[in-house]
């Protein structure tokens, strides 16, 4: 279940509670994102959301002919910062539910909470912790984002288990579901981690200035768009 929670799996009260948490959390992120990005927020965040959506369609081989796809929560957080990243992923989740019928409408709060709040923020915290332990190089940033992305996938499955324990309707014990979910997600986490690390490393190679999580490495003026100063254009 590296995917959306459907209607009916978690009972109504829990879903509604998650909805309140999700709405509050995304509201806070929007305010923070607005402070960080001002009026450029709309096109930049919109394009980042479109990127996350497209990246989720990139299949990668797992093993023996099966393939997985990227979830992208930590990728977004490392690239554009946790607040903007969370908003971008929330937009993706809402659009998928309403425009593509992907993920239940009544479970929208749960899905936003898991994918747009728990994953990016949990992962970003882990990323910051790892980054602090490693030498300040681009390789460290890529490696930290990969490990954090893998960790965040497991964290999301843990969040699901908690939600299931509170309001699950499945008829299996939360422990059983939890063990199975986390077991499956450890495998998915490896793929997510490898792809996230490689993707971050690719961005660092061409536009290091665009990687939020690598700001501590200092400004980079080597790329033409940064040189044009368009980023600060008014």
């Amino acid at each position: 279940m590296a995917v959306h929670i459907p209607d009916g799996l978690i009972e109504g009260g829990t879903s509604a509670g998650a909805g309140v948490v999700a709405a509050t959390g995304v509201g806070v992120c929007l305010r923070q994102a607005g402070r960080l990005l001002d009026e450029r927020r709309v096109p930049l965040a919109g394009l980042t959301s479109a990127f996350i959506f497209a990246a989720q369609m990139v299949n990668f081989p797992v093993a023996g002919g099966t393939s997985g796809h990227l979830l992208g929560g930590v990728l977004a957080a490392v690239l554009v910062g946790p607040y903007v990243g969370a908003v971008c992923v929330a937009v993706v989740v809402v659009v998928q539910a309403l425009l593509f019928a992907d993920g239940g409408v009544s479970a929208l709060g749960l899905n936003v909470a898991n994918m747009a709040l728990v994953t990016p923020f949990g992962g970003y915290l882990a990323f910051c912790g790892l980054r602090a332990l490693l030498p300040p190089t681009r390789t460290s940033v890529a490696a930290a984002s990969g490990v954090a992305a893998g960790f965040a996938v497991v964290l999301a499955s843990l969040a699901f288990t908690v939600e299931y324990a509170v309001g699950g309707t499945g008829g299996a014990s939360a422990t059983t579901v939890g063990v199975a979910m986390i077991g499956v997600h450890v495998l998915i986490a490896v793929g997510e981690g490898v792809i996230t690390a490689l993707t971050v490393s690719a961005v660092l190679a061409s536009r290091p200035d665009l990687v939020w999580g690598a700001r501590h490495l200092g400004p980079d003026r080597s790329s033409p768009a940064a040189a044009l100063g368009l980023g600060s254009a008014r």
Partner: protein, 246 residues
């Protein structure tokens, strides 16, 4: 309006890394004139364009539009007067429908209701896209998107129209349709391009920008007939083309 529609004096601009992008550019464009700004990629053409409506601010020198100095204080009025059509129509069409996009500029100027609708209809009419209001940009052909991009600027009723590489990626038919539209406009127009035959077709006068300087200014046919001048500035006519052959 009298006198020069655009007056650029000693305009200098350097990139943050210190490389000069524009070096003491002087350029006057008369009201109603149609001028091509020719130059190879990297000559500073786009940087010049971004100064015309104050997106970039001069580090030295000045830009005036219809007598008004381009500066932060005059920004809103300057952006009404100077309409820029960017190279990639997908960058310019960012709203869900054609009508919303064409209305975006005038709505920012405070136009609303009936008057706004009229502007949208009139602008789409000029570019031959009347009746496409409700369509989404991604349902249009590339050539249609380019013409709608022109309409998004015309709806602001600008005094000066600036087109950045208007023919890039257009096939011959779309190229012709756009030229036909532009030829009917009586606006002051700057066409920034490396498409020399198009410049000859549309603009009686051209300037050549290379390495951030204006290196030539004269009738387009004369400039294009000077093969040495063109070659010096990494420009050349396609083989088989001759500027006097009409």
């Amino acid at each position: 309006m009298t006198g020069a529609a655009v007056e650029i004096r000693g305009l200098c601009f350097a990139y943050p890394d210190g490389r000069p992008a524009l070096q003491a550019v002087d350029l006057d464009v008369g009201a109603g004139e149609r001028v091509a700004v020719l130059g190879p990629n990297g000559a500073g053409k786009t940087t010049l364009v971004l100064h015309l409506n104050g997106i970039l601010s001069p580090q030295a020198g000045s830009v005036r539009v219809g007598g008004l100095v381009v500066a932060p204080a005059t920004q809103a009025e300057v952006r009404r007067r100077v309409g820029i059509v960017f190279q990639d129509p997908d960058d310019q069409l960012f709203m869900p429908t054609v009508a919303d996009d064409v209305a975006f500029g005038p709505a920012n100027l405070g136009v609303e209701g009936e008057a706004l609708d009229q502007r949208v209809v009139a602008a789409l009419d000029v570019v031959g896209m009347a009746g496409h209001q409700a369509r989404a940009p991604h349902h249009l052909s590339f050539g249609q998107r380019r013409r709608v991009a022109v309409a998004t600027v015309l709806s602001m009723e600008p005094d000066v129209l600036v087109l950045d590489e208007p023919t890039s990626n257009l096939d011959p038919a779309a190229r012709r349709e756009l030229a036909d539209v532009l030829a009917t406009l009586s606006l002051t127009t700057l066409v920034v391009t490396h498409d020399l035959p198009y410049a000859l077709e549309l603009c009686p006068r051209s300037v050549i920008l290379d390495d951030g300087r204006i290196v030539a200014d004269g009738p387009t046919a004369d400039l294009l007939a000077d093969r040495d001048l063109l070659a010096q500035h990494r420009l050349e006519l396609p083989r088989g083309f001759h500027p006097s052959w009409r």
